[in-house]
Symmetry: C2
Subunit: 579 residues, 2 copies
C-alpha cells in the first residue's frame, strides 16, 4: 500500500502519489487523523476551501483477517468544530486497499455549484460531471451507480442532506448487496463532501494487485486466533447474541439497567422497550419472513453478522440495517415504541444521508421544544421529511440536536462538543459518560465502549453507577479503540478479545504479520494514545480545550429515574484524562 | 450607593442588601462584570437557572456630570457563550442611582412559563404577575407601563424575541419620552431576561434620596471641564457633526474610506450610501418636518444630543432613533438604500426587542444564503416579521447571523465569538478589526473605538489600512473604554477628551469627586485593564480562549474592494493583546 490519491475539486485534478514515508504502516483512523492534523488548518471553516476529507482503509483491510472491512473518513467536523474520524463497514475499504491505495485525499472546492463523481481504478482516477444526481437520495444514487458501472463496484455516496451542507449528514458506503446504507455517519462529514461538490466515489478494482503482507504466515496465525475467539464468544459467535438479535439485543439490557435514555434523556427506563427490542426484531424477521433477516453482514470477511434486514408486513424489504443506536434514538429517545415507524425513519435517514443517532437526538430535542409530543411517530416522520424539502424547519433539524435546541431556547440538550449523545445514559453508566466527555470526537460511544464491563460483563465487571476509576477505565478503552480503528477492525472484536487472551494476541499478530512490525500489547496502548493526542492537538488548536470536555449542565442538577443519580464525575476528574 | 437589590425569580423574593465592601466605588461595567464573574459559573447554560442578570448604573449616573446616563447590563451571553456587558443611555440609571441602588441582580428561573413585572421603589420591590403582557411588543409594553404607573417611571422591558429566548434579543430601556427604544442590545441579554420569566422592571423613584458625592466641589469642577470640552469639540458641540447629522454622519465618511461593509461584507463601498447618509437623514427631518428631528437625546443630562426621530412623509413619527449602526446594518449591509425601509426595519427591531446590528448582519447572511436578493427591502422587512410569528425561519433568524449562516452552510459569516460585526470593515480599518477579534464581548466597535484616529482624525491620525501597532492602539482604547463604561459615561465623550486634555482631566476629577478617590490617568488604564482581565478570565473558563480571538477565515483570503486588502494582522499579533 505505498500509494495515495489526491483529488483537487477546484481544478478537478486527480493525482496518484507515493505515500510519504511518515505515513507508512499507518491506516484507518491513525492515518486519517495524522493527515488531517498535518494538512488542515485547525481554525479553518469546515465547509470552506481549506478543509479536506481523507478516506483510509484500515491497516488490515483487504486481507483475510476477519472483520477488517472498516473504512475511516477524516476531516474537520462542521458539527463539532474539531477533528473527526467516522468509520463504516463496507466492501469499499477492502477493494480500495487491494487497489493499492492507502488514502484518498479530497481537497479544494467546486466554485460553481456543480456536482461531480469520482471514478478510481488502479491507474488513477477522474472526476465526471454528476449534475444529473443532484438532490437524489442515497439509495437511488447507489442504485444508479450499480446499474451504470460494471462489476457492482464499491462506492460511497452523499445524500441530499450532505449536498445541502447539513451537519448531521454522513457518508453512505455500500453494503455487499449494493445498498448505500453503511454510514461513516457522525460529525457531518457528508456536509464536507457536499461543500466540495462531490456526490459519489466509485471504485473499479479490476486487476487490483491485492494486499501483500510482510509476513503472510504470521498474519494467518493471528487471523486464526482472532477468528477462533470471535466464533467462541457468546456475544459474537454464530447463534450468539449479536448474530441472533442484532445490536438491538441491547435495548432490553440497557432498559433493565435503567440506562436507556427515554424522552430526550428524561428517564433511563422506557415502557415500550420490549416492543422495539432485538427480540422483537428477531420475532418480526421470523414471522414476516421474506426479505427480513437477522445475521446480515456489512462487509465480506465479517464472521459476526450482526446486521439486519427489516421486512414490511408482506415480507418485502423495508430497510437494512436496523441497529440498536437507531432504534434507541428514533424510538425510545422520542418515546416511540412502534418498530415499523422506527424502520421507516431509519430508511428516511439513510436515504437523506444523515446520522440516525443525531437524527433521533434532534427529534427528541424538537419534542422537548414542543414541536411534537413524545411518542408521536407520525409527526417524527413528518419532521424528517422536512429535511428533504429544505424548509426552514428542515434546515434547523438538519443541523442536529444542539442547533435545534438553540433555535428554540431549550436547556436540556444532550450533546457534548455539539454532537448528540448515543444510547447510554451517562448518569446511569458513568464510564461511558467519561468517554462522551473526553472523546476527541464529541459524544461517541464507539470511542471507548466501557459499556462492555459496566453493563455486559465483558472484560470484567464494573458498577455502572460508580464513578471511581472510570476515567482510567475509559482511557484504557479509548486507547485500545483508537488502535482497533487504525487496523480497520470492527469494534465488536473487542468483546471476544477482552475475554479471550489468544484473540487479543491474534489481533497483534495480524498487524505484525501485515507490517513486519514487532508490536506488543504495550504498543497497542501507546499507538492508540498517540492517535488520541494528535486528535486532541488538533482540537486544542481549533479552540476545543478542557472546557469542551463537559457534560451538559442539566445532567449535573437533574436526577435521572430510576436510580435518581446526577452526573457526578467531577470536571477535575475529567481533566485528568489528558494528564 | 451602598445598597443592592437581589431578585430571585424561582421563589419570587425581592431583597434589598447592603452592597458588599468589595464592590464599593465600582459601577457600570466594572460592577456588572465583577458580579457576573463572582456569581455565575462560566460553564452554565446561559438560559438555565444558574445564569444571572446584573443591572448597574455607572459610577457617575445620577450626578450632574454630563452624559453620565448609561446603564450596564451584565450576564453570561447566550449568543457568544462568554461574559457580556451591554449598555444603554436612558433615564433609568439616573433614577436607579438616585434611589440608592448600585446594582440589581436577577437570578433563578420561573418554572411554569408565567411572566412577571418587577416594581422597585426606595424601600424594595415586588414581583407582580404580567401574563397580560405576554407576546406584546416592546413599544406597546412601554406605553402600557406609562399609562398604568404614576409619574412616567423609568423602565426596562423585554420584547417578544426575548420572551422566545432568541439570542439577538436585547433589553429596551425607556428614553425621556417613554419610548422603549434605548437598547442594551448586544449579546442576547433579552433572551436571558426571557428565560427568567421577567417582562419588565419599573422604577418608582418617589422620595429618592439622590446621589451624594464625597467631594461635591471636585465633582463640579470636573463636570465643568468635561462639559466645556464636549461643547467645544467639532464632533460633539451644539451644531457639530453628531448633533446635526446624528451618528449617521459616519455613512459617507466610512463609504469614502472604503470601509462601509456592503452586501454582507463583499465590498467596502456602497453605491447607495448618500441616500442613507446622515445628511439624507437631516434633509428628511427638515423637509418632512412634524415629529422628525435631529438633536434628540437618550437621557437627561446629555449635552451632545446625537439621537434622532425619523418621520413619515406626512410628518408623523416613524421611529426613534435611527443610528449609524442600524442604517448600515439594515441598509448598506443588505444593499438597501431606502431610508423609509430602513426606518421601518428599525421600528420592527425595536418592537421585537432585537439588536439592530445583529439583525442586519443576519439578513445580510440570509441574503448570502439566497433567501432574498441584496437590495430587496420588502423581503428584508418580511423576514423580520417572521421573528414575530415564531415560524421556523423566525427561529433561525432570531438566533443571529452566525446561526443563520450555519443553518444554510454559508462560509462568509461576519461574526467573531458568534456576534455579528458592526459597521466598520476590518480589512479596511485594521485597528477596529483588532478590537473585534480581541474584545471579551465578541465583535464590538464600542469596546475600543480605534475608528477615532483611523478614520475621524480624532486623538491623532492612523493609517486605517496599516497593521503596525494596531494591537497597542486597540489595547489603549479598550482599557480606557472599560473605565468609561464603569463611569456610566456615554462613549462619545471620548471624542472631546481625546483631543482636549482638560476634558480628560475633568472625567477623572468627576470620578474622584464622586468617590473621594485619587485616581490619575494611569489608574484609568489600570482599572480598565483590570475589568478586561476579569472578563477574559470568565471567558477562558467558558472555553473562549485565544482560538476565539480570530477573524472569520474568509476575510483572510478574500480581498475587499476597493483597497483589495485581506485581513493581515497575524494571529500571533492578536494573541499579544493579552501578554
Amino acid at each position: 500500500m505505498g500509494k495515495m490519491v489526491r483529488v483537487n475539486m477546484t481544478d478537478k485534478k486527480v493525482t496518484v502519489e507515493p505515500l510519504p514515508e511518515k505515513y507508512a504502516g499507518k491506516g484507518g483512523r491513525w492515518l486519517s487523523s495524522m493527515m488531517i492534523n498535518d494538512e488542515v488548518p485547525a481554525d479553518c471553516h469546515a465547509l470552506g476551501p481549506n478543509n479536506k476529507l481523507v478516506i483510509a482503509p484500515g491497516i488490515l483491510s483487504g486481507t483475510r483477517a476477519p472483520n477488517s472491512g472498516r473504512v475511516s473518513v477524516g476531516g474537520k467536523s462542521p458539527l463539532t468544530g474539531g477533528i473527526k474520524e467516522a468509520n463504516a463497514g463496507s466492501p469499499f475499504p477492502q477493494n480500495m486497499a487491494r487497489m493499492g491505495y492507502a488514502a484518498l485525499v479530497i481537497e479544494g472546492l467546486v466554485e460553481d455549484g456543480s456536482l461531480w463523481l469520482l471514478k478510481l481504478d488502479i491507474n488513477g482516477g477522474e472526476l465526471v460531471p454528476a449534475d444529473d444526481l443532484k438532490g437524489k437520495g442515497a439509495y437511488e444514487t447507489g442504485n444508479i451507480i450499480w446499474e451504470k458501472f460494471e462489476g457492482k463496484p464499491a462506492f460511497v455516496v452523499n445524500g441530499p442532506a450532505g449536498e445541502a451542507k447539513m451537519t448531521m449528514a454522513g457518508m453512505a458506503f455500500n453494503d455487499p448487496e449494493g445498498r448505500a446504507a453503511r454510514y461513516a455517519g457522525r460529525g457531518g462529514l457528508g456536509a464536507v463532501m457536499g461543500s466540495k461538490g462531490l456526490k459519489a466515489i466509485v471504485l473499479d478494482d479490476k486487476d487490483a494487485p491485492g494486499v501483500k503482507p510482510v509476513d503472510e504466515e504470521m498474519l494467518r496465525a493471528g487471523q486464526r486466533k482472532l477468528a477462533d475467539s470471535i466464533t467462541s464468544h457468546d456475544l459474537t459467535k454464530k447463534g450468539g447474541g449479536l448474530n441472533s438479535y442484532g445490536t438491538a439485543l441491547l435495548i432490553n439490557v440497557l432498559n433493565e439497567a435503567g440506562g436507556l435514555p427515554t424522552n430526550n434523556f428524561r428517564s433511563g427506563v422506557f415502557e415500550g422497550a420490549k416492543k422495539i427490542s432485538g427480540e422483537a426484531l428477531a420475532e418480526a424477521a421470523e414471522k414476516r419472513g421474506g426479505a427480513g433477516t437477522m445475521g446480515h453482514r456489512c462487509h465480506p470477511g465479517c464472521i459476526i453478522n450482526c446486521s439486519t434486514v427489516y421486512a414490511n408486513e408482506d415480507g418485502s424489504e423495508h430497510v437494512s440495517s436496523v441497529e440498536y443506536e437507531s432504534i434507541w434514538s428514533l424510538g425510545a429517545n422520542c418515546g416511540i415504541d412502534n418498530l415499523d415507524q422506527v424502520a421507516e425513519m431509519v430508511w428516511i435517514c439513510n436515504d437523506l444521508g444523515i446520522d440516525t443517532i443525531e437524527a433521533g437526538c434532534t427529534i427528541g430535542v424538537a419534542m422537548e421544544a414542543g414541536l411534537a409530543e413524545f411518542g408521536d411517530g407520525e409527526k417524527a416522520i413528518e419532521m424528517l421529511k422536512e429535511i428533504y424539502k429544505g424548509t426552514p424547519l428542515g434546515h434547523i433539524l438538519g443541523q442536529g440536536a444542539q442547533f435545534t435546541g438553540e433555535a428554540y431556547g431549550v436547556t436540556r440538550i444532550p450533546c457534548i462538543k455539539r454532537q448528540g449523545m448515543p444510547a447510554y445514559e451517562p448518569r446511569a453508566v458513568k464510564g461511558i459518560g467519561v468517554t462522551y466527555a473526553t472523546s476527541t470526537m464529541g459524544a461517541d460511544h464507539t470511542a471507548g465502549y466501557t459499556v462492555a464491563p459496566e453493563i455486559a460483563g465483558v472484560g470484567g465487571s464494573e458498577d455502572p453507577l460508580a464513578t471511581k476509576d472510570k476515567v482510567s477505565l475509559s482511557k484504557a478503552f479509548q486507547d485500545t479503540t483508537a488502535f482497533i480503528d487504525a487496523c480497520g477492525y470492527c469494534l465488536f472484536i473487542a468483546f471476544p478479545i477482552l475475554d479471550i487472551p489468544s484473540g487479543y494476541e491474534g489481533v497483534i499478530e495480524t498487524v505484525n504479520g501485515m507490517l513486519g512490525t514487532d508490536y506488543n500489547a504495550d504498543d497497542v496502548l501507546r499507538i492508540g494514545n498517540e492517535i488520541l493526542r494528535l486528535e486532541r492537538d488538533f482540537n486544542m488548536r481549533a479552540g476545543l480545550g478542557k472546557e469542551a470536555d463537559r457534560m451538559p449542565e442539566f445532567m449535573k442538577y437533574e436526577k435521572l429515574p430510576p436510580h435518581n443519580h446526577v452526573w457526578d464525575v467531577t470536571d477535575e476528574e475529567l481533566d485528568s484524562f489528558w494528564d
